[in-house]
Subunit: 784 residues, 2 copies
């Protein structure tokens, strides 16, 4: 866990006031820069010490064997693992004859700041070498939102109190030695030094390295160029080797004199383009970046971010930690999605190697909602990625003897990488999550063109999957048997309520979209009969209900299973899956992450208020939150059913997951879904936002600790600003024509510009439900 | 499949009239010799050509890694694989300067005979070398039942029509090159040349090789000695190397002259004993064998077999194929179990490397019933093996957070080797099968001493498992959720009827045994309260029933699952698990092997006649028999519910599985459970034998194709001979005091010696139920 004091609360920045090597790897994730195409972990400029060196390109992976002691039909033979590409952020420094390394000498001051408004990561170091020579190093780093192939750094060293000879080595380094990632020697063999050198060039202050991966045959190019400023004479030399490009700057600095270099780094990768095409591509990108110059890149970055904050900022008064966390979240999710352009948003973005760099259902279900109402262009790009993977998903369906398309549980290139089918392939709900994201995006943007070109096909192919996966039983019910829902502490169950409700929505939405676009439907061979079978299956969909307990079982039969022995489970036995066998976890009532509760959020229409309250209380007592995908959803429904303080606590858990390293794996990268969950908890929780049948609705209310919550979001071309105060809420259309919304279930038409003030819903404070023994959410606010 | 004509039907032997290299590997399994301690596949004396060289010692394995792409808590990290030990059966022959190899020259005649009464495998070959020199080779091989460390061979070569110089090389060869067994390089590395040489000796006509396995650290000793006879002069030399011992005999033979050697081979292995102790152990065993001499070994073997046939023979008139098959089955099961002595009876006995040499639940459930009523001593030995593995099984239970003992799904040394838990660890019924075998053995023998020393502890520890695995639900029912029953086309289901009924019997039997033996119960810390919870759980055991279909669902909810699309499944898509994903197989109504139907056999008391008939018909339509563990059980229940011709067909499938290679994997070894299933089908099927509450019952009836069925079996010290004719059955106590049995549910007391004649039950011929499309059992009888 990260001590709160490491990062003083700041509404617009993450600031580190001193370097703590114990949480160095975590800080590398927190300070990661990305534009969705390039990812640079927040490694120290000089490369060492490190927790996990990391430079990533979205979509660059190596293929690795997936071993099975007992294999089965349809098990994927190969997986994909994100690789650490050429490190372009490395800048080493020699002071007289001492390398600048904060582990030696004396570190007088060390601060790092990630500024959410400028998008810059800056660092300031006061250091005395072991022989006592003082220097000041200032560096600033960016990964450009406007020039997607470009990262840039300014690096300045200043002699403080004596004349110093300094040497700056600015490098490109390929195949860095990394901490081991697998105990399997065959996997390690693939991932150790994954890049084979093809060519290298150097000239003037430029160097270029071109490599390719051994098995996946992806070509990766990295190039750098420099600009140097110094009051003293600077000697410059450049050289390149297969795995190393190096520009060296040396100068003798009088006290107060500085040597400053600006480094531009360009990346490119392709499975198709030739060595020479890649060489020219990165050279052109570099030229373009030099043309903008450092100042130009900085100013473009600021402009892009200003636009984001204008359209997406969330203000949280009364809880400064959450204020910082929501902006940190928005900033990182923005980084992950803004220029992904036809590639996935992986579970960790491009901030670390966690989960092998794979994308999961998290993207559509947790990350895309937030982007839909803030940066909808990014959503279109992510869904285009799924669309382009349709042929692979259709092949997978055929292999599994199913209709339509089966999207992978975890993947980089679209092919299934899950080696454990009960928690992978069987979790077919991923398809319904994609369909829901399509419906949500189209409803929020009115992007009919997208719906026609890509959306309908995604809806139809997922609907076809459900139609082939389910069947009508002797009682005429449409059942979906033997699948795994969101909760990973259950598997291979019949009629998971979440899955069935999401499939139902998927089937109806596909039929509706096909009806709206008959030409496109014809092209996809959807006829009236097929649409009718979709509607019929949706109508007959079996949603089990427990008449004795008066709640929905998570899956059929779930509520007759033994309740986990929480009283005799100790704190150090969590997460349970590391301490108990799956078979035991699966057959008991214990929940890793919101499942039925998530259904109540995403299918708000399918439950009465009373059902929601009863279900929430029942599942609250079973949910241990061994997944980072749970707290935000619990916050949303806790707020809806009136447990506002509990909702606030869950909001805190989602918001501070990475900032405080609550799951103890932030070292491997940030949790995009939990970051986006912060937004979900605030907007769907306290603002009570839901979207159903193309209509957006709100039901605001605030917990005691938040005095004001201001949200800006987009819907159908309008920019809406919602300001929630303890008693009332004001809605204002900042941009666009009047729009009808629902406030506390009543239709309200928002006029252009003018704010509308409405009273909040009145909640009778309820006795909050109990969590399992020892699993109460953390309360992040200091008790007053 | 093996052409029927390869082995002409013979009631007392398996004879091969010509060598067919296409089924060489299969013949090596069929002609395998074993005594349960040593296993020698029926490889040709000269070693080549071979399908699969094989010499095994029960319990000798190598440890190998079990790889997982996604590992989980409690997954075993290492497995065990039976290894091919030093080959002691190799005898090479040089004729002038041509090696005797049936692939070259001219093979004029080649016959092999396995005689079920003598236990000898004999071979006769007329061969002309490529240069036209004719020889006759006669060899006879045995693996001794009376001297368990000993195998012996006589090998004789005769010059036919010209003077020949012959050289016989009698060898011990370690680390023979085998066909590859795994695609995983790490596994292959372990299994290639698994034995490390320690020492070798040779002197006179003796040689000894001592090796040990690399990881499991088992020491294996093999030694040979010879006796030579020849009318001509013989030159003898002996030598030894790390992986080779060789005695060479050369002589010049005039036409009609013979060179004959007798080879004695002794094996020993130990995890504890030193090199020198092992050396002396095999030397002593050899000495003892030489003392008996070949004739002595042959005569001891005959005596042992005479006793078996006297106590266990089954005569089947009217169906000569089944007559041969049942004796083939009895012979091989006898071989597998007779001298296992504290070791397992693996699924393939010691006839091949199939299933890695592992023992499964098959042993107790299919093999031990037959041995219980014929060679009960062997049953006590096998159960002693389980008893001795109790500490490992208790450790496994602790690891899985369960009470009592969890026996492994597959193992050699007692530790779980299953790398796929849904079909391994989750199949907890293995424990109930062991408990049932204990109860059956004690009921059939009255061996109270065994019950006190080992049986009670086995019963109690398995009962404790069930008590901890199940729970009472809100309706007061005792449920066992999330387990896998016998049918491997379902997994992780709630309240599998077979499992629950077997667990119920296990719980009650444990409580009864504890009550019978209070002192032993005290020693095992079983008090009245614990016994009460066992009885209570048994009483409240939930047995689901489908009120709509009026049948028992295999597991809760099973009958609402989609029925497999049998019509659109082609012949070449069987076995299904090689062509469809598990997730799809598991969630549909399709059955690999008898599950509920097996419950109706082993818990005959738990179903009414009508339920049996209805259940059988329902499950018959779903069962595809992709497992060799199904046909015999279907035969048993088909006979009980009156489908006698169908029962006869299933009997044929079980009986001829290996003789005709119906499953196309006889090359890897014989199927012990199916061999024993032949006996079950005849004895529990047509004789209708059941044992319940210590009482043995019969309900005989014969299908049209069997005119007389005579069975001999033991019960409580009596030897009973049952002769079933089409209309009536005679019971005769060959040995022992009067005994009460049930005949057609009526009590009958069998007097000493005198036969009792009783009418068979009358069955109204029923319309037989349908099997899935294309899955009707084979009819083995030629249609007249």
């Amino acid at each position: 866990m990260i001590d709160q004091s490491a990062y003083p609360v700041d509404p617009w920045a993450l600031r580190e006031t001193h370097l703590n090597l114990n949480v160095l790897a975590q800080s590398e994730s927190l300070f990661a820069l990305s534009n969705g195409h390039i990812g640079w972990r927040g490694n120290l400029d000089e490369g060492e010490p490190f927790g996990q060196p990391g430079s990533y390109l979205n979509g660059v992976y190596e293929t690795r064997p997936l071993p099975y002691a007992e294999a089965g039909y349809g098990y994927p033979e190969d997986g994909q693992t994100v690789i650490n590409v050429t490190n372009g952020k490395l800048i080493r420094l020699l002071v007289n004859d001492e390398p600048f390394d904060i582990r030696y000498g004396q570190l007088r001051q060390h601060t790092r700041t990630l500024d959410f408004r400028t998008g810059l990561l800056s660092r300031e170091v006061d250091w005395a070498s072991p022989e006592g020579q003082g220097i000041r190093v200032r560096s600033t780093r960016l990964v450009s939102f406007t020039q997607r192939s470009i990262g840039a750094i300014t690096y300045e060293v200043e002699a403080i109190d004596s004349t110093l000879h300094v040497v700056i080595q600015s490098e490109l380094v390929t195949n860095e030695v990394l901490p081991p990632r697998s105990g399997d020697p065959r996997v390690s063999a693939v991932l150790e030094a994954p890049l084979q050198a093809e060519t290298n060039y150097s000239s003037e202050m430029k160097a270029t390295l071109i490599h390719s991966t051994k098995i996946s045959r992806l070509r990766v190019a990295a190039a750098m160029d420099h600009h140097v400023e110094c009051q003293a004479n600077v000697q410059v030399s450049t050289e390149s080797f297969p795995d190393l490009g190096r520009a060296t700057y040396s100068a003798t600095l009088e006290p107060g004199q500085k040597l400053k270099i600006t480094k531009f780094v360009a990346y490119g990768w392709s499975a198709e383009r030739s060595e020479s095409a890649m060489r020219d591509q990165v050279a052109a990108a570099l030229e373009s970046a030099r043309h903008s110059g450092w100042d130009g890149l900085v100013s473009e970055q600021r402009t892009a971010l200003d636009r984001l904050w204008e359209r997406a900022d969330v203000e949280v008064d009364g809880d400064p930690e959450i204020q910082q966390a929501i902006r940190f979240s928005l900033f990182h999710v923005f980084q992950a999605g803004i220029r992904a352009e036809g590639r996935a948003i992986p579970a960790k973005g491009l901030t670390g190697p966690g989960y092998d760099g794979h994308a999961f259902w998290d993207t559509e279900t947790f990350v895309l909602p937030m982007l839909t109402y803030t940066v909808p262009e990014a959503v279109a790009h992510t869904l285009r990625w799924r669309y382009e993977m349709l042929p692979t998903a259709r092949d997978r369906a055929r292999l599994l003897r199913l209709g339509g398309a089966v999207f992978p549980w975890r993947t980089i290139n679209g092919a299934e990488c899950s080696a454990y089918w009960p928690a992978g392939t069987a979790a077919f709900h991923v398809g319904a999550g994609i369909a829901a994201a399509v419906v949500r995006y189209v409803a929020a943007t009115g992007d009919t063109d997208f719906e026609k070109r890509m959306g309908l096909e995604l809806l139809a192919e997922t609907a076809r999957l459900w139609r082939s996966l389910g069947h009508h039983d002797v009682e005429g019910r449409f059942r979906i048997d033997g699948v795994t829902g969101p909760d990973e502490y259950s598997a291979i169950a019949d009629n998971n309520v979440y899955t069935n409700l999401m499939a139902q929505h998927n089937l109806v939405s596909a039929a509706d979209a096909a009806q709206r676009h008959p030409d496109e439907a014809r092209r996809l061979h959807i006829d009236q009969e097929e649409m009718a079978t979709w509607r019929d299956a949706a109508r007959a969909m079996y949603i089990p209900y427990d008449d004795v307990l008066k709640i929905h079982p998570q899956s059929e039969g779930f509520t007759r299973h033994e309740v986990w022995d929480f009283e005799n489970t100790t704190e150090d036995q969590y997460p349970l899956f590391l301490h108990f066998p799956y078979f035991d976890i699966y057959r008991k009532q214990v929940i890793k992450q919101a499942d039925l509760v998530l259904a109540m959020h995403l299918r708000t229409d399918a439950f009465t208020d009373e059902e929601k309250a009863r279900n929430f209380a029942y599942y609250e007592a079973l949910t241990v939150r061994d997944s980072s995908l749970s707290a935000s959803t619990q916050a949303v429904i806790a707020a809806e059913v009136g447990h506002l303080e509990l909702a606030h606590d869950y909001l805190g858990e989602a918001a501070l997951l990475d900032l405080r390293d609550l799951a103890q794996n932030t070292r491997d990268g940030l949790h995009m879904a939990s970051l986006a969950g912060t937004w979900n908890a605030l907007v769907c929780g306290f603002a009570g936002m839901r979207e159903w049948d193309g209509m957006i609705s709100f039901a605001p209310c605030l917990p005691g600790g938040i005095t004001r919550l201001a949200i800006t979001l987009s819907m159908l071309g309008r920019l809406i600003r919602i300001v929630i105060m303890p008693e009332e809420t004001s809605y204002q259309l900042v941009e666009g024509k009047p729009l009808q919304i629902l406030h506390n279930r009543e239709p309200v038409t928002l006029p252009a510009r003018r704010a509308v003030q409405l009273p909040n819903r009145k909640l009778i404070p309820l006795i909050p439900p109990m969590q399992p023994y020892g699993r109460r959410p953390m309360t992040h606010r200091s008790v007053s």
